[in-house]
Symmetry: C2
Subunit: 424 residues, 2 copies
């Protein structure tokens, strides 16, 4: 079995100034080829540490993927360490990457500086995958081939892929890297099946499906992956599987246990599923957001092509906007407060009328940290859904920090909208 | 110098299904105590791997912080591994955590299941920091004390903190962990100074401040931390510093070189700075969003207390909403298109009038992946800012994927709004 390690390089990661998102993306790309990542490591921009960590990893794993340390500034030293580690004696210019440096900077209306041009220089014993989104080339070092060798173990074979640290640059290179791995290694297969569930906490879900889980064949592995925005993802995995039929056989019983709480049987999210439902049914939607402050709209518009069914939204943060723009009667807010069943019902109806959408969703709640009362504590949200079958409201209370509360309010609202769409 | 390592545990990390955000938060909390994190590692929910990795880390580092593997489901095995690793022979119930389990589940309206109660059981040789946001306790193992010992090196002293994997639970524990470290270790100090810059790409920024950077005293270290939403953060660090005055002395020249592109001299973001400016000046704002789809509103409302200055927004994704709700004249869109200087000017003016805000910002662009033309390519955005000094517009072109384009559009719009506020 091919073993891989990911090493992310950068003081900014170790010191906690940025979060490493690259490792997860790289791991998924390798997983799709059936290659397991056994270890992820993050180290600083320190010459000796980079040298030792990579030198050790190349002795232990077949594939080592690194990100970071390739920028044009002085704190980036990965390329020079790789040159020494691989036994290269000098740099050469990569024409493809140099052309890309010019294209990218010209598009951005920027001058091409010497430091930018230097980005296209690479150790003379590596291959280059052109980075189409940034100036630093992706370098491929095939240790144990030609003049690319570990000093004290020259026959050791392993491949090192050096990717840029900027996430959208690293991501864009993954398909090319997958193709390169396929061309050089015999790749097996791990099968996964993802089941997306919204509406049960992890422990309650585990309890509900305990008997089913206990009866799973031994070579299947179940993982619970809770996420504020997407609910719980159940990931069922089979190792060295021929096809996914063994996984599929487990699904009928799971569907019976969870019903409409299962919103998809693939790795997706609520905005995508809602978009699919709206498109199928030829319906349009809108949103009126108070406490969620634009999050529902932002989530819905993250899906490409959403303009087919998403008309727009009003963020009515101030009560005056609820009244003036959404037409919530003043006495509703005076009598019941802005965080009330009555108010979200009027907000949902108001935005539906304003935009002419078929369905709508509205939120009003208290995200915190301040603003709660004994009657209406921080974490309370009222959600309204309006459509051809009328207007429904429901309330939920969560006990999180502000950012989590906002995300949970938005996700719960989207889930209620989804359940309503299933009835239409 | 106290050395620390962070080990995150969970198949979901290794397989790339979730991104590890805990390590960055933990590292910042340790950095505030002057403790350097030398290595971050992620490993799977595998008994032998957890045992070996932690056993090795405890021999190498003074502090080892782990997250994950503490959930109520069968795939979580960290607690049992820690029991064996530390030489504990059994579990005891922690009353404080058990009370919290009941409180949390009752608040959420959930039954307390046996699997939940089991969360309050801990190895009998660890101390507990109660997790106030979740059911899994934070465990503190003081290796080399009492009956908490490594089997083959019983005198070795090191502390292991086991945190939950759920990020907002782990975060809430960090202050208690900092206090515990202060109580048990002599802590030194690293000084950092963050300078937030928006409006220059990393390489252009490096070129502009190259002479200043070259002249920095040797014990100062500069890092460039680019981020789509916050621009480039310059982090100037001094190790073993007494106070921050050595860092402060470098700032006047940097201010002269960068001017208003510096939007803060602390680690913050554009929505927070805009909120401060609005509050200082007693002004209110609103937003009209097309291509950014609610992102500007979502960012502005992520700041607690924003209701003092943030009135609301309209996401006018469909052109009909631009006309009907924001009052953009139909012939403007017909003549110039929705992605035009003329349209964003009318959108900004329209939402300002609709909400009665003092200032407003509007966006219309093409986030992609589809929808571009030779004249108006994917990545083009028009931004309008309206206020007491009139309405200004500007256009930018970025060459990213959809999600990045949307974030960059929103950040650029916020920056233009900030520059306008500086003039008021």
């Amino acid at each position: 079995m091919i073993q891989a390690a990911i090493v992310t390089i950068g003081d900014e990661i170790l010191i906690g100034q940025i979060t490493d998102t690259n490792s997860a993306h790289i791991s998924r790309a390798l997983g799709a080829l059936g290659i397991s990542v056994t270890r992820m490591e993050s180290i600083g921009d320190d010459d000796a540490t980079i040298y030792e960590t990579l030198s050790k990893a190349l002795r232990q794993y077949d594939l080592v993927l690194t990100t970071g340390g390739l920028g044009p500034t002085k704190d980036d030293i990965t390329k020079e360490v790789l040159r020494r580690l691989s036994g290269s004696t000098g740099y050469r210019e990569n024409a493809g990457q140099l052309a890309m440096v010019y294209e990218i900077l010209h598009t951005r209306g920027l001058e091409v500086l010497d430091s930018n041009k230097a980005q296209a220089l690479v150790p003379d014993n590596c291959e280059v995958i052109v980075n189409r989104r940034g100036t630093a080339p992706i370098m491929v070092f095939r240790f144990g081939e030609g003049n690319c060798r570990l000093k004290d173990e020259p026959e050791r074979r392993a491949t090192l892929y050096s990717l840029p640290g900027v996430p959208y640059e690293a991501l864009a290179a993954l398909e090319d890297i997958q193709a390169d791995i396929r061309a050089h290694y015999p790749v097996g297969k791990i099968c996964h099946k993802n089941i997306m569930v919204y509406g049960l906490a992890e422990s309650a879900l585990a309890e509900r499906i305990a008997a089913w889980e206990d009866a799973l064949p031994e070579n299947l592995h179940l993982a619970y992956l809770p996420n504020t925005l997407t609910g719980v993802r159940l990931r069922l995995s089979a190792y060295d599987c021929g096809d996914a039929s063994m996984l599929d056989a487990q699904l009928p019983e799971l569907r019976r246990l969870l019903g409409a709480m299962i919103y998809a049987e693939e790795d997706t999210d609520l905005p995508t599923v809602i978009g699919q439902l709206l498109r199928q049914k030829g319906l349009t939607m809108s949103a009126a957001e108070s406490c969620t402050g634009g999050t529902i709209s932002q989530l819905m518009t993250s899906v490409p092509g959403c303009s087919d069914y998403y008309l727009g939204s009003v963020t009515s943060y101030a009560n005056a906007i609820k009244e003036k723009v959404l037409g919530v009667p003043q006495d509703i807010i005076a009598r019941y407060g802005a965080v009330s069943s009555e108010c979200v019902a009027k907000m949902a109806e108001g935005v539906r009328k304003l935009t002419g959408s078929d369905v709508s969703v509205a939120t009003s709640g208290i995200a915190g940290p301040g603003g709660g009362t004994p009657d209406k504590p921080v974490g309370l949200v009222w959600i309204g859904v309006s459509g051809p079958h009328g207007t429904h409201t429901a309330s939920f209370t969560y006990k999180n920090a502000r950012a989590q509360n906002i995300q949970r309010f938005a996700a719960t609202a989207l889930n209620l909208l989804r359940l309503e769409l299933l009835e239409l």
